[in-house]
């Protein structure tokens, strides 16, 4: 009825067509098609880094929300500092802890009202921020550089310089 050689050629052609079909099916999947946010397809720490660069580094909180939040994003601490647009803030990242889709950033922010040690926690989802919580405390000093938390921690592994 049909030779093995012809069957093989047909299977290769069908395989290529199937590849194109699968590609277009996945590309146009409504779960992600049309979302061109800057964090889409990025790792959670890169999403948070992008958000923080816009919100803190450029002081454009509203723009950062537009780019990185979703309609279902929850801000657990809406009254926390730095929730409004401002001039670019000086932001010193001390530590980033990332596991799975969760990212926590300990950083020191200098702006109007002095410097604060801030821990921002995020949960990301599909390239955007789903959940956010901020804990802030005033710096025990005139600036972030003078903060007690700026000192390196001695883990007993090697001598701490300075």
């Amino acid at each position: 009825m049909i030779s093995d050689k012809r069957l093989n050629n047909l299977s290769v052609a069908l395989g290529l067509l199937l590849t194109v079909y699968v590609a277009q099916d996945l590309h146009f999947n409504p779960r992600w098609y049309g979302d061109n946010g800057p964090g889409v397809g990025k790792l959670p720490r890169d999403i948070v880094a992008g958000y923080m660069h816009t919100a803190y580094g450029r002081g454009q909180v509203a723009e950062a929300a537009r780019l990185y939040y979703t309609k279902k994003t929850i801000d657990v601490t809406p009254d926390a500092p730095y929730r409004n647009d401002s001039l670019p803030l000086k932001d010193t990242v001390r530590e980033v802890i990332a596991e799975g889709l969760n990212v926590a950033v300990h950083h020191c922010v200098e702006g109007d009202g002095g410097a604060r040690e801030v821990v921002d926690m995020f949960r990301t989802w599909n390239g955007r921020i789903l959940w956010r919580k901020t804990i802030a405390q005033p710096v025990n000093g005139p600036s972030c550089a003078a903060s007690e938390l700026a000192r390196p921690v001695d883990l007993g592994l090697k001598p701490v310089s300075g």
Partner: protein, 184 residues
């Protein structure tokens, strides 16, 4: 890409239950290959600075998130997706199929494990999701090509000799497809 696949010429298939079974297996082969080409190339496009075909899902539950993000961050995901792409091409173009199926098995299992165990979607075990059927198709195809794995499964296998390397060119020769005959 021009491909000359050296299947046995002259064998004609009759329309019977065995031929229908063969068609089903061919469908599994090209479906698994197509899915792996798309999945592999989507991630590898980003490695070269292009937009992916689809953004990589990172799972629903925390264990799945942790595994996928860790694979991406340590660079192992690049290796996995390269294996997927190469295996997919082999399956679609019907070359080195036994080797491709064996190489695909760990990848297929991890896709299954991530989808079912790590995301606790045991209801999907009997579904038609590709995340589970990639493993099922892989195993079924391995069984369909078992004749090529039999030498590997021998209980007693004395070590070979340097002269065995001279047999390497034989991998490009047409296989003996007649039932009951071993090509080795």
């Amino acid at each position: 890409m021009a491909v000359t696949t050296r299947a046995v010429a002259g064998t004609t298939n009759k329309l019977d239950i065995w031929f229908i079974g063969k068609l089903v297996l061919i469908f599994f082969r090209i479906m698994l290959g197509a899915w792996m080409i798309v999945s592999g190339s989507s991630h590898l496009l980003t490695v070269f600075g292009y937009a992916p075909i689809f953004p990589q899902p990172l799972g629903n539950l925390h264990p799945s998130n942790v595994m996928l993000v860790a694979l991406l961050e340590v660079g192992l995901f690049d290796l996995v997706k390269t294996v997927e792409l190469v295996v997919g091409l082999c399956l679609v173009f019907n070359v080195f199929v036994p080797l491709a199926l064996a190489a695909a098995l760990p990848v297929s299992y991890m896709v299954f494990h991530n989808s079912i165990a790590l995301n606790m979607r045991y209801d999907r075990i009997f579904s038609t999701y590709m995340a589970v059927w990639c493993l099922y198709m892989n195993v079924i195809l391995l069984l369909a090509y078992i004749r090529y794995y039999l030498p590997m499964l021998r209980m007693r296998a004395p070590m070979g000799k340097l002269e065995d390397f001279r047999m390497l060119p034989s991998i490009f020769r047409d296989p003996d497809q007649e039932p009951g005959k071993s090509g080795h």
